[in-house]
């Protein structure tokens, strides 16, 4: 490191220094703000995912507590749970890993 510093020219922090520092700081600040916005978005997505998970877990608990009275249609809640799990699994429907046009259209301009 000392060899590198000895080889390198000294950074002249006089008049030009503040302009150069300003330019680089501005760009890094822009990138930083962008990354912060991305982090906030990620947090929001995480929150939504947690909300969905909480709802499905809550539903499963309610189903268990109610003792599944049965309505002649087999086990609708269990069926629903299975389909929910299948929906959460992208391997369930290979087409779903590709964006279906109607849904992608919704997401594109957001």
């Amino acid at each position: 490191m000392s060899v590198l510093l000895a080889e390198t020219p000294a950074l002249p922090l006089h008049t030009a220094g503040k302009y150069v520092a300003g330019a680089y700081i501005v760009v890094f600040a822009i990138v930083l703000i962008y990354v912060a916005i991305m982090a906030i978005r990620l947090g929001r997505i995480e929150g939504e995912l947690g909300e969905l998970l909480a709802l499905t877990e809550e539903d499963q608990l309610v189903g268990r507590d109610a003792g599944d009275p049965g309505d002649g249609g087999g086990h609708p809640r269990r069926d629903a749970g299975d389909s929910r799990r299948a929906a959460a699994d992208p391997r369930h429907d290979p087409g779903e890993t590709q964006e279906p046009p109607h849904a992608a259209r919704e997401s594109a301009p957001a």
Partner: protein, 259 residues
């Protein structure tokens, strides 16, 4: 799908940016006329080139969208233009700072390169208001693509017009790296690669975020739909308790609508 390889790309970007900054500040010699102030060149010029290329790429993606009607191309076009706008803002700010240090003015209206870049920036600044003023998603994507193609064609035309202009106060850079001494050219190319990688990485992050949000919405819709279907069947046979699957479907749908 969009998140694949993001970690490697991010690491490469960080390494490239650090390497480029090291080359710029510790390897490239000081320029004879401008001295240390010329270091802004290694930031300002790559940002401008990448922003302009991004605008053109947005137009090319828009062509792909109109040809295939695949909304993914529209999303790519939107993200690339969005990112180019951010880079264009950075270009304008760093250019102004450089102009102040070099010419003593923040902005020179008689300089065609500056004004033409501002015109391109303002043109693209209308892209998002135009896009979001249309409610129908299909029309929105189509109109935005037409705009992106037209404006994307304007970018090289504008660039050529400026080069043909008589006043050349602004230094010519593109295509003239052979005029730079070896270490300066290397630092410049390293900076160009580093900032281009940053551009691609940020675009990929944005696309991944949008895709994830889409998948979440699809999951919400599917949950709501699959819960609603058995609920309807049951309602026809016997009254359903207030708790359970039907309620979940309604709640999911309700919350989905509210977000």
């Amino acid at each position: 799908m969009y998140g694949r390889g993001l970690r490697a790309l991010s690491i490469s970007t960080v390494v490239a940016v650090v390497a480029a900054l090291t080359l710029v500040f510790f390897y490239a010699p000081l320029e004879a006329e401008q001295g240390f102030l010329q270091k802004i060149f290694y930031l300002h010029v790559p940002l401008a080139i990448i922003a302009l290329c991004g605008f053109v790429a947005g137009g090319l993606f828009a062509i792909a969208h109109l040809r295939t009607r695949d909304p993914r191309w529209d999303m790519r076009s939107y993200v690339v233009i969005h990112m180019s706008l951010i880079f264009a803002v950075a270009t304008l700010i760093t250019g102004s700072i450089w102009a102040k240090g070099s010419w003593g003015h923040w902005w020179v209206w008689s300089e065609p390169t500056l004004v033409s870049f501002l015109i391109v920036f303002l043109l693209y600044a209308t892209y998002q208001p135009l896009r979001f003023s249309i409610e129908d998603p299909e029309r929105q994507a189509r109109y935005a693509s037409v705009f992106a193609i037209t404006a994307g064609a304007f970018v090289p035309a504008n660039f050529i017009a400026v080069r043909l202009a008589s006043e050349f106060l602004h230094p010519r850079v593109l295509g003239s790296t052979s005029n730079l001494p070896g270490p300066m050219a290397l630092a410049f190319l390293a900076s160009l690669v580093a900032w281009a990688l940053l551009f691609v990485t940020l675009c990929r992050y944005e696309l991944a975020a949008k895709h994830t949000r889409f998948q979440l919405r699809a999951l919400r819709r599917r949950l709501a739909g699959e819960q609603a279907r058995p609920a309807r069947r049951r309602r026809s046979a016997a009254p359903e308790p207030a708790t359970g699957a039907a309620t979940l479907g309604a709640r999911v749908a309700g919350r989905g609508a509210s977000t």
